[in-house]
Structure formats: structure tokens, C-alpha cells
Symmetry: C2
Subunit: 120 residues, 2 copies
Amino acid sequence: MGDLERLVMEQLWAASTALTVREVHERLAGTRELAYTTVMTVLDRLAKKKLTERERDGKAWRYRAAAPREELAADLMRDALDRAGDRREALVRFVGQVSDEEAALLREALSRLDGQERTG
Amino acid sequence: MGDLERLVMEQLWAASTALTVREVHERLAGTRELAYTTVMTVLDRLAKKKLTERERDGKAWRYRAAAPREELAADLMRDALDRAGDRREALVRFVGQVSDEEAALLREALSRLDGQERTG
DNA sequence: AACATCTACTACGAAACGTCGTAGATGATT
DNA sequence: AATCATCTACGACGTTTCGTAGTAGATGTT
């Protein structure tokens, strides 16, 4: 994902509803002066990459993020982990790099797994 | 990192010592038929991206990975986490996606932190 | 001097991206 | 119906990254 693409995704994630091209364009106006069609192209490319989905709303399309921002982040973390040779080592390094707060969140998330023992 | 770049990095990670362009080229011979200069270019680009470092060895350069594979993986995990809006949520999703074995490794890595309470 | 080996520099095509313009369809307005 | 506003579809062009490699020139070897 390029920078502009990320910026656009952030608008979608920040919005509670699906947005039209025009809406995204407006929300970006403060940050970046872009042609309407530029936003359209980016949204379209994101859709082709399955990062956004779109539905009709009258004449226009409404786009929304295909997945929550946190899910994408989790997926990317997985991808990164998959590329490590030694997972244990990678996880140790990752954990060693994380802040205290994040470590606590991780423990919490792990303990949440205990009860349900992978029932999905 | 592109595919070829990754392939080359893998050679460096697999080797115990720094490798010359020729050595990388030879090790890749089974997998990919590449011109010697292609390997040279890739190695050079990787060096510019700080993914490899090089040192003189007579007339030739010897390249080695700037960081262990697992460290790069951990860094990428961090980057991914940093791009999540809600870290807690991202970590929960990440943990939920991980295999039982990986969860165990994570717990292990976290407990290892307990004793040293971030003394670095 | 001739040959082998390396690096440096250059190059070129493909793909991803940032950035838009134009054309044409459709709906609203006069 | 003619006009205007709003959208989309499609194409386009420059830049960067990457895969791929050739050529020139330096240097060491025979």
C-alpha cells in the first residue's frame, strides 16, 4: 500500500459508514489537494486489491474498508512472522521490542485464549 | 523487498559467513539462472536499503545480512502493530490468529520478560 | 601482454503508485 | 427538451521499485 492509499484507507476506517468518492475527497481536502478523479482511482485500485468493498448508492458507489484496521495489522503481523525462519526467535525479539503496556496487552489477549481453547 | 531480493537475503541468512557476489550467485544457481551482474545489482540495492552490509575482501566485496532474519521479522511485526489504530484490538486479533504452538511460544517469550523487567 | 575476475555505471522493461483529464451516462432543473 | 451537475469508466503519463543484464574499466594472475 502506498502512502496515498493508506491515507484513503484511514478515512474509511475513521468513518462509521461507507463513503462516496466525494466524501473521501472532502475529508482529505484539509490534508491534501487532490483531484476528485485521483481519489476515485485510488479507491478503485484499493477495491481491486480487496482492501475496500463498494456498494451502489443511487448513481454513486459507496466504499468501505473490507476489514477493520486492526485486522489488517494483525494479518501483516502474521505475514511478518511467517517470513521468519525461527518463529520462537522472532517472537522473542518482537516481545523484547514491545513496550511494557503492549506486553501487558499481549498477556491479556493470550489469557483470553485460555478459556476458549481454540473453539473456532 | 521483492521476491528476488528476498531470495538473495535468504542465502545470506543461511550462510554462516559473509558471501561474495560469486558465492551468492553460485548458491542460487540451482534455483534461478541469473547473470552474475544481476546478483551484484540486487546485493547492491539491498545494501543501499541497509538490509545488507559489505566489507572488502581483496578485490571483492563480501555481503552479509545487516540483521538476523528474525529481527527483520520482529521489526515488520512492530511496523504492522504501529499502523493499527487500537493496539489492544490488533493484538487480540493477532493472538487469535496464531496457532496453539505459536501462542505457547509467545507466552514463553513474555514470561522471559518477567524476570528482567525491561532493564535495557 | 593476455586473461580472468571484480566493481561501477548504465539501461530497459514491468508493475505499482500518484495524479489527472476526457468522455459519456444519468438525474435534476429550468 | 435543452442545460447543468454529478458520477463513473477508461486511459494516460511521470516516478519509483524491482528483475535482469550489458559494457567498460580496474586489478590481479600467468
